[in-house]
Amino acid sequence: MVPISAQSAQPAVLVEELVAGYGGTPALTGLDFVAAPGERVALLGPNGGGKTTLIRTLQGDLTPISGTFTLRGIVGHVPQKSSGRNDWPVTALDVAICGTLDALPWWRVPGKAQRRAAREALEAVGLGERSSTPYGELSGGQQRRTQVAAALAGGASVLLLDEPFAGLDAVAADRLEKLLATLADSGTTLLIATHDLDQARSWEKVLCLNGEQLAFGPPEAVLTRQTLEATFGSDLLEIPGGGFMAPPHHHHDH
């Protein structure tokens, strides 16, 4: 399912010889990949392998050590579950409105247009009826969808999602998965950090990371035993009867 990428000549994400890190020794080297509009790219790798470093670099939080990247359109970010404050006195609508701030000069406050965009984005992610609910009272899946709504309200055409499925139950994960598929269908490019090999198999591209770019391409070409062993090392779990499973997720700060 890559209908829009096939129609588009310009990539949505173009990364060339990128080296990224936090100052000092690079955390991630040899990044070189392209994502077309409407593609879902799985960022696969162990904890500390560089997924969040890549997302923070593309988001503009970290300055590349060398190399370049180009993102076409507005970039939205869905942070890890543990970031942000659940005790913050905001509703789902407030969070979605916050997503519109990047497009406004610092002295402007969100007005009717931004509120409308936020409400529409909440409707789009299936949370229209929960707009007045305090953010801290939403379930993990609903919080993740609210963050997606915030990015959409800001007009994002490239979404960077950092472990969006971590901690979700099967129903919430399924709902989020369907939402991401719908967004991809509408032309949004999604870079999604995940540990789930089955998910990665169902998306258009896979980028394997472990301190460096190990592989990039369609899942059938990338998700081989050899690449997965290089990515996850001895942590890779072999499932009886065939197939592999990435090691379980543990939260990390970088």
Binding site: S83, W88, P89, W106
Partner: protein, 267 residues
Amino acid sequence: MPAPFQWLLDPWQSAIVGPGAAVTVVVGASAAAIGCWVLLRDLPYAAESLSHGMFPGLVAASLLGIPIAIGGIAGLAVAAAAITAARRWVSPDNHSVAVAITPLLGLGAILALSGPVPPGVGDALFGDVLAADTTDLLTALVLTPVLLVLLRTAHWRLLASGVRSSDSSRMDTLVICLLVVATAMAAGSLGALLAVALIIGPASAAERMALRASTMLWLAAGIAALSAVVGIEVAWHAGIAAGPTIAICAIIPAAASALLLPKQITT
């Protein structure tokens, strides 16, 4: 008029109560609204320290014979710069604030104890609500709208900083700057040491009652204004100092809400 109403109106018939009460209501409401962001950004210790950091400025101004308000503002500016620098370059934790402020307090003590207690320092530290005059009221009426516009402009950015856990350093600096203004204004009525009661007390009570930040700000402003009125009533009839009474009245709702109300939003 029924006797109880007459009794309640007694303080307000005095010419010296009006301006002081009006200043404290206006200034207290603004300070409490800023206090909400101080609480939300986990800066109450910085607020407490900031008011203590005024001390050397107040004493130095008194010794040098310059207006004590100028010394207070200078002390606040130095304290705010020290807190901001310590949080940014030493550690964002409270101990860096203590390290930054304690020397300032020590400096103030050395200056104050080097001779007779400088005149005016007592009022500057503990306030003199009823000494406010029309100039103080006009200053409050000019500064308050400026603060409200700043708060309104920054509101969504401050909210977003918590939602996204981003921009923390810049937003903390912004809140500390607003805090300097709030402390300077509130210190005029309640004194440097008691001003923090109007900044933190009402905000702390409102935090237990509000589900949204904007509601919290309005509630805190209302509680602060009410505390000022009730404090003056109590002080008048009990024949005690108005400043400390207002400070206690501003803290009582916080204590009561902490005992009686669960926090509205929990992690």
